[in-house]
Symmetry: C2
Subunit: 239 residues, 2 copies
């Protein structure tokens, strides 16, 4: 399945959370380990999902201007402090909150991500295009060994996806026209925003991002490419 | 020789032109090859030096506000068009000028640069901090295989070194205080600007940058570290 690939892109930019890393499994494991170490019993998987659930409303507050520019660490911090009492977790020290916010810097890649990015890097420029800020992403890439040619973070643009400034800003920094750039993501709405601006698109199916497979893990448009892994995408682009 | 290293830096940022790549030898070779292919005889080494000589005045025009933000490709283009007639080179087509401007995207590293950066990358975060723009630097890193954790280009800040916005902007993107960051460069004035803002400094001697050894290739302050290669720097930091 897949649409009509235009000319081969010169750069492929990747969404990161969900597309390249298993944020849910990683954060859940980190929270559970913290709970064990601290002797705190709680629904850590529920907290993980609630934490991620707070992500879009928080970013939307920035996107609409209701909240001044705030990076993802600080959005994560505020959300966690709000939700922990609702799950019956006793108040934590600032340093403990910081430790937990740091879990998002040490997420585990999907098994194909590093090999796929390495294969793709031999063909084209590869970069991240994430709502994570540069500081988070540099540390995450050290941890995962993602072999980026370039990291693009939301703080470079002062905007969060799907604001157009992010997609067009990255194309501009690369000196490329939107049609020369492909966005690869496991989320239809991210690809839709990129397509509306003229970028090419690749859907990467990540059925386990939210646990049991759901409709969000299926393409809902004729994206230029549809792949079931980054390695698959690299193979399709190699033609 | 070397001053007083503070705590080990968490990131080392590098000047690129001269510090990591032999711009003079590379551009001269590229111009001479172009001349041979086109049947144009000229003082290509003189043109190389004059081209680089136009670099600081052009950047200073941007730094003082006399010229709106202009990236290095466009500064290079304007300077080359101005100087070629002075060297008796006949008018070139736009595409030929673009080809020559592109020589600055394909410079040859000094022999120790890639191995040194790779060794350093195992210890700390490594990034470029160059007056080259992101598009130039991504292509240069593909060509040289520099294993950057992060590329910082002047266009991310809308300023050229030694403007403070560049040094402090990179520290901010990394989420680090200036004292947690070291600038490594072969140019005293670059290090002086970084030191004035609180960054640590490492001088890397590149006696062949301008051809015959000259005073510019010697440290003129007690920089925290002084090294004769990037590998030497990595060894000193590993302590």
């Amino acid at each position: 399945m897949g649409g009509k690939l235009m000319a081969k892109p010169q750069a492929v930019l990747f969404d990161v959370f969900g597309t390249l890393v298993d944020w849910r499994g990683s954060v859940h494991a980190g929270l559970a380990a913290f709970g064990t170490a601290q002797g705190i019993s709680a629904d850590w998987l529920g907290i993980t999902d609630a934490w991620r659930g707070a992500y879009k409303p928080a970013m939307n507050a920035v996107r609409t201007g209701a909240l001044a520019w705030t990076n993802l660490d600080d959005l994560h911090r505020g959300a966690l402090v709000d939700l922990l009492p609702k799950f019956g977790v006793p108040a934590l020290a600032d340093a403990q909150i910081s430790e937990l916010v740091g879990l998002w810097h040490r997420l585990t890649p999907w098994p194909d991500s590093v090999a796929g990015l390495s294969a793709l890097k031999r063909q084209v420029m590869i970069g991240s295009l994430s709502n994570g800020h540069v500081a988070l992403q540099v540390r995450l890439a050290k941890h995962t060994k993602f072999p980026w040619d370039m990291i693009f973070g939301a703080d470079m643009f002062g905007h969060y996806k799907p604001d157009p400034e992010v997609y067009l800003g990255a194309c501009g920094f690369l000196g490329l026209q939107p049609a020369q750039v492909m966005l690869a993501a496991s989320h239809n709405e991210d690809l839709a925003a990129a397509r509306a601006l003229g970028l090419q698109t690749a859907f990467i199916a990540r059925p386990m991002e939210f646990g049991a497979a759901d409709e969000r893990a299926k393409p809902n448009q004729d994206w230029e490419l549809v792949a079931d892994s980054v390695l698959d995408l690299a193979g399709q682009l190699a033609g």
